[in-house]
């Protein structure tokens, strides 16, 4: 077997044997189940309220009643996607970190370096291993999502829904790989494991939580319950024309948001799943065209961090146990 594949195989085997990795995957799957259960219970309550409202109307008023709430099954996993965004990124960092720290603390990295294999090849093989691990994890979560939407949420999925969900999970794979690659790069480069963890946690806090939170805070429509424009009785077309006068503020807000790969992934996922109303039920090609820049950015950022990981290995001290 090619030496690169041997390391990759070992990487996957270590992850399977590691209780930590299995616990993390179980936690993510459980989060999806809880999300679908909570969302479907919430929808049932909404339906019951609607039925009560309908029953209270006289037959001639029922014709003018509010529209019946509609269940779009893919929207049931919204919270699950948010868990992948937030906790998935943290777990991806942990798995990437463990991949390097394990070798260094056991001293096997020194053994590996004594063999006729380049450091860049070691990191490349590890990256490939991480890709395989995340693909397997997300395939499991994809199946869990489908089973929970059908079994718990009682949603009916069409063939196109499976494809939409598949696209989202492919992007989830790319997104989580970004965090694992980042962890590998930071851990391989730094002397102390604690420093790697602290830098990782700080980066995770900023990219996953703080930047999107600042972006949301700066969104005028998030400032008032029910939305600013809704509370002032402004219709959508007027809202757009008013916001055109405040373009520069929105450019700054949007500029801040797109610096976060998490926000980019969220935009992609919410659009394909129809969670964002304006993309709901649109053909996949139209969604892809509208989200073109976010799609490219997520892929590009992951590729760049992957290349950086391999480049970092050119440093003499990388992977050596120094502390």
């Amino acid at each position: 077997m090619h030496k690169l594949l041997i390391i990759t195989k070992k990487e996957v085997q270590d992850a399977v044997r590691s209780k930590q990795a299995i616990a993390l995957v179980a936690f993510l799957s459980l989060s999806i189940l809880i999300s679908v259960w909570v969302a479907s219970a919430s929808f049932s309550i909404k339906m019951n309220e609607y039925n009560l409202y309908l029953a209270a109307l006289t037959p001639d008023m029922q014709a003018q009643a509010l529209a019946r709430p509609q269940l779009f099954p893919l929207t049931l996993i919204r919270s699950g996607i948010e868990y992948i965004e937030i906790l998935g990124a943290l777990f991806a960092f942990i798995i990437g970190f463990t991949s390097v720290s394990r070798e260094r603390s056991r001293g096997t990295s020194l053994l590996l370096l004594s063999r006729p294999i380049r450091k860049s090849e070691i990191l490349l093989a590890k990256s490939l291993g991480l890709f395989l691990i995340w693909t397997a994890v997300l395939a499991t979560i994809y199946l869990t999502s489908i089973a929970s939407i059908i079994g718990i949420g009682h949603g009916r999925l069409q063939m196109i829904d499976y494809v939409r969900l598949g696209i989202v999970f492919i992007f989830a794979d790319i997104y989580l790989l970004f965090w694992s690659f980042f962890a590998v790069a930071v851990t391989a480069r730094l002397k102390q494991f604690t420093s790697a963890i602290l830098i990782g946690i700080t980066a995770w806090l900023m990219v996953v939580l703080v930047i999107p939170q600042i972006g949301d805070t700066m969104d005028p429509d998030n400032q008032v319950p029910g939305g600013l424009f809704g509370s002032l009785g402004i219709i959508k077309s007027t809202e757009t024309s008013i916001l055109a006068h405040f373009h520069s503020f929105d450019v700054i807000r949007n500029g801040l948001e797109v610096t976060s790969i998490t926000k980019l992934f969220e935009r992609v996922a919410f659009a394909f799943l129809g969670i964002k109303d304006k993309y709901n039920q649109l053909p996949i090609s139209s969604v892809a065209k509208a989200l073109e820049s976010s799609l490219i950015a997520v892929i590009l950022l992951t590729v760049l961090i992957g290349i950086s990981t391999v480049l970092i290995s050119q440093n003499e001290e990388t992977l050596r146990r120094r502390s």
Partner: protein, 299 residues
């Protein structure tokens, strides 16, 4: 008391010398400092939008931000305490207890007649003092920012509210530092001493409130506590797990003290749950850490 004083002094010195947590500490201070400015910019922008709408005769509704209280600009700092302050506290606590294990000085301590309860209390008090100092700096920068934004000083009532909010933030962070301290004592490795409490923090911050309120995880980054829209769970189950939603309890208390959202009332349950968590966190830390002192780290 000798042991307490020595542990306090030593921990204070070691924590201040330690470079590892500096990044998170800096992030905490910077974000708390700029949070009121971000809030002010947003309010100013919303007011401009409102004025534009009024000038076109499109609404007669009052400006939602007219007469916002001065401390409204502090609302984002509440979420930064939940996100960054909490993690900073966990890291400071875990680092305090793992330091001796890494340098093997715990072996030396075991050979001496040292009261381990006093020692743990001394270390925790030192970490607590650092947290109080950081919170004071954060409050001072917020006070100055609001002064510049409003062009007027906070009145006495607002200053008391600010100090009250600072005290609640400190209690939350000290309790979390104490929990971090436990993990620093019992974990097999330095990495797991940080990772396990952080995963626990994520569950308390996102998963439990979602189960109780059916709010999406990202929406829980809102500084005001989530309002339940019904999850289908029995009320007895919700009542049973609500005390675990520590961060939501903290947000409710902070909101009530700062007067950010007048429609949200503080419940006695929130207050009691939060106090109970803080007391349990510190007591558990002292008991567990002194009972399990001296565990070796994995090679």
């Amino acid at each position: 008391m000798k042991v307490f004083k020595a542990a306090f002094k030593h921990e204070l010195l070691s924590s201040l010398r330690s470079r590892s947590p500096q990044l998170v500490v800096t992030l905490f201070l910077v974000l708390i400092s700029i949070s009121s400015i971000i809030g002010w910019l947003t309010v100013r922008n919303v007011t401009k939008i409102y004025n534009d709408i009024v000038s076109q005769n499109l609404t007669t509704a009052p400006n939602p931000f007219k007469n916002v209280p001065s401390l409204y600009y502090m609302r984002d700092s509440v979420i930064y305490v939940v996100l960054i302050g909490s993690l900073m506290a966990i890291i400071l606590g875990a680092q305090a207890s793992i330091r001796d294990r890494k340098s093997n000085t715990n072996e030396l301590i075991k050979t001496r007649n040292v009261n381990l309860v006093h020692r743990t209390l001394g270390q925790l008090s030192a970490v607590g003092s650092i947290i109080i100092l950081l919170e004071m700096v954060a409050l001072l920068t917020s006070f100055i920012s609001i002064w510049i934004i409003q062009k007027t000083l906070l009145n006495n009532g607002e200053i008391f509210a600010l100090l009250g909010y600072g005290a609640v933030s400190v209690i939350l962070m000290i309790a979390l530092a104490a929990i971090g301290y436990i993990f620093g004592t019992i974990s097999k490795s330095e990495e797991s001493s940080l990772l396990y409490p952080i995963v626990g923090w994520a569950v308390v911050t996102f998963t439990i409130p979602q189960i109780i309120t059916s709010t999406h995880p990202v929406a829980l980054l809102n500084p005001t506590p989530a309002v339940s829209t019904g999850t289908g769970l029995a009320q007895s189950v919700i009542n049973g797990i609500s005390p675990l939603a520590v961060m939501e309890n903290f947000k409710a208390i902070a909101n009530a003290i700062l007067g950010i959202d007048k429609s949200l009332k503080l419940s006695m349950v929130d207050l009691l749950s939060f106090s109970f968590f803080a007391v349990i966190g510190v007591v558990a830390s002292v008991v567990i850490s002194s009972k399990t002192f001296g565990r070796k780290l994995d090679a």
